[in-house]
């Protein structure tokens, strides 16, 4: 109940921000655009997929149509992934530092709330808000593809959960930096830097191993890869999920452990701090 109270306050705080209104507005425009432009028609030799009333290629079979739509959905989700990173992190990076501000943290901690509960409530608030946004966007698009083209790809809709999971892992970095530096700027910069480094670590064998053949250096890179959330690997997996090629659960399992560890670190630092 207390954690839900914190989630509610966080949702109200985030809803008051313009960034999320912009995100919801952009999502609505994309949904409307696809709704108005996309259609399909049954012709003699298959199904015609149309954008703005014009056919996209020649008529295709029912199976091929599914493949094409799944591909479009995977591309859209990839775009959404970066939308979440950009808008989501920017919009939510301030909520933990703002809770730790003098005059605010006193109010929270004078209530029967443990420090870990305060942090968890704020964390969940950010994740729940992103879940709402992602479900709104992907749910509406899933519905549009269903009614306009007849492709009801449940994996596309379910990828909203996967995307939220990725955001939750990423937010563990935002939370740790927020507790450490008590301002939104470093969490934002740090998270983007991490995404860049994470991408390099994902391709360490092709890129970073070329810098040095020292086994210690390579072991450090491997260690970092397995300690930190594997955002790039999860992103690639979401596309596989939508195109129904199956999910590799390993990056998700490893990332949840990493996120838990980072969150635990945030709680440990927060618990020792004087206000």
């Amino acid at each position: 109940m207390k954690i839900w109270g914190l989630v509610t306050i966080t949702l109200r705080e985030l809803s008051a921000k313009a960034t999320l209104i912009v995100l919801a507005g952009i999502s609505t425009l994309i949904i409307l655009g696809i709704f108005l432009s996309l259609s399909s028609s049954q012709v003699e030799d298959g199904i015609n997929l149309m954008f703005f009333g014009s056919s996209v290629g020649s008529p295709v079979s029912h199976e091929s149509l599914h493949e094409i739509v799944h591909g479009i959905q995977a591309t859209l989700t990839k775009g959404l992934f970066w939308g979440i990173v950009l808008f989501g992190v920017i919009a939510t990076a301030g909520i933990i530092p703002s809770a730790l501000e003098k005059g605010t943290v006193d109010l929270y901690l004078s209530k029967p709330i443990a420090r870990w509960e305060l942090l968890l409530g704020k964390y969940l608030g950010a994740v729940v808000l992103m879940l709402f946004n992602i479900v709104y966007f992907l749910g509406a698009l899933w519905f549009v593809f269903g009614i306009k083209v007849g492709v009801w790809n449940s994996q596309f809709f379910l990828s909203s959960i996967t995307l939220t999971f990725v955001f939750a892992c990423l937010f563990s970095i935002v939370a740790l930096l927020g507790v450490l530096f008590r301002g939104p700027a470093i969490p934002i910069i740090g998270t983007f830097l991490y995404l860049f480094v994470g991408n390099l670590l994902e391709q360490r064998e092709q890129v970073l191993y070329l810098i040095s053949e020292n086994p210690m250096y390579q072991r450090i890179l491997d260690g970092l890869y397995y300690i930190l959330p594997q955002i790039s690997a999860m992103e690639a997996n979401i596309a596989n999920q939508i195109t129904q090629q199956g999910l590799d659960w390993r990056p998700f399992a490893q990332s949840i452990l990493s996120a838990g560890m980072l969150f635990g670190g945030s709680v440990a630092i927060f618990s020792k701090r004087d206000f």
Partner: protein
């Protein structure tokens, strides 16, 4: 059971680049606050008053010593269900309305929704912000914010209330209203711990007062004990003093100074006071009044701090 019990509580902050420069915020501070009292902690800026409250609320960790609230050893999360806190320089979420704020913080205080519904309206009425219940907090004036802050501190019907400068920014009428609320809470058996710079107000409502400076307890006692100026009395008289009276008073080693209508006497005991009264009666000098001399709490506070500086 004490409402608050602190035993040799100390807090040292570290500053400087290496963190080796110690700043003593609180030094072996021991205090007991009985239930149902209004207890005030006074001291100049940086005396350690807020640090003490923050340690009690587990916002700050003590360097040494221990403390308990309502019989529960600190730190204790659960005991905070029974306390209310109005911090100095609070920052309430501006995007909430007054009513939403009380609901949200009530929920965080572990109060059930149905109980909250019946509690919010009377509380807003009590502190005088009912007419602004639907207004966003960011539009509240400083005084309105203090009143709302008091309502927030009272939302869980606490047994122990910590108030840090509760009348800051409130107009004189509002201050009187807040004072009355606090006295009413005391009458209900609540314990109130007050940090305030407004000594005249503290004097009006406090049962006990502690004066703190540089983290050290200088003096503790009732307002009477802190404001009495030694055993000095002002005795109103209805006739001139006679030679005989002055001679006998001098023989009794009474230290007196006098005017045509009063005697100022420094007496070491009530026995000496009685001797003086007997002497006045013996010489037929009418006594119109007897007043024990006292200073204001502000005077006592300033004198005590001056002595501290000199020593």
């Amino acid at each position: 059971m004490h409402a608050i019990l602190s035993e040799s509580l100390s807090k040292t902050y570290r500053s400087g680049i290496t963190g080796k420069q110690p700043i003593i915020a609180l030094a072996n501070f021991s205090v007991e606050v009985a239930p149902g009292q209004i207890f005030s902690l006074l001291g100049p800026n940086g005396a350690g008053k807020t640090t003490f409250v923050k340690i009690l609320l587990s916002l700050t960790h003590p360097t040494s010593g221990r403390a308990s609230i309502l019989g529960r050893q600190l730190p204790d999360v659960k005991v905070r269900e029974r306390i209310g806190y109005l911090p100095e320089n609070h920052r309430y979420p501006g995007y909430l309305t007054g009513e939403q704020l009380l609901r949200s913080f009530g929920q965080l205080g572990g109060i059930h929704r149905s109980a909250l519904r019946s509690r919010i309206n009377p509380l807003m009425e009590l502190v005088g912000v009912a007419q602004w219940r639907s207004m966003k907090v960011r539009k509240y004036s400083k005084g309105m914010m203090q009143r709302l802050g008091l309502a927030q501190a009272l939302i869980n019907d606490p047994e122990l209330l910590f108030l840090d400068e509760p009348t800051d920014g409130v107009d004189p009428v509002g201050r009187k209203e807040i004072r009355d609320i606090l006295l009413n809470l005391k009458a209900q058996g609540k314990t109130i711990f007050l940090n305030s710079h407004l000594l005249s107000e503290v004097e009006l409502i406090s049962d006990r007062v502690a004066i703190l400076d540089k983290g050290t307890l200088l003096k503790i006692g009732t307002v009477d004990e802190l404001t009495s100026v030694g055993p000095e009395y002002l005795i109103g008289i209805g006739a001139d003093l006679t030679e005989g009276f002055l001679h006998e008073a001098s023989a009794l080693l009474l230290k007196l100074s006098y005017t045509s209508d009063s005697i100022s006497a420094q007496l070491s005991s009530t026995e000496e006071l009685n001797k003086l009264i007997d002497l006045l009666r013996k010489y037929g000098i009418e006594i119109t009044s007897i007043v024990k001399k006292r200073s204001t709490l502000e005077d006592s506070f300033i004198n005590l701090l001056k002595k501290e500086v000199v020593s």
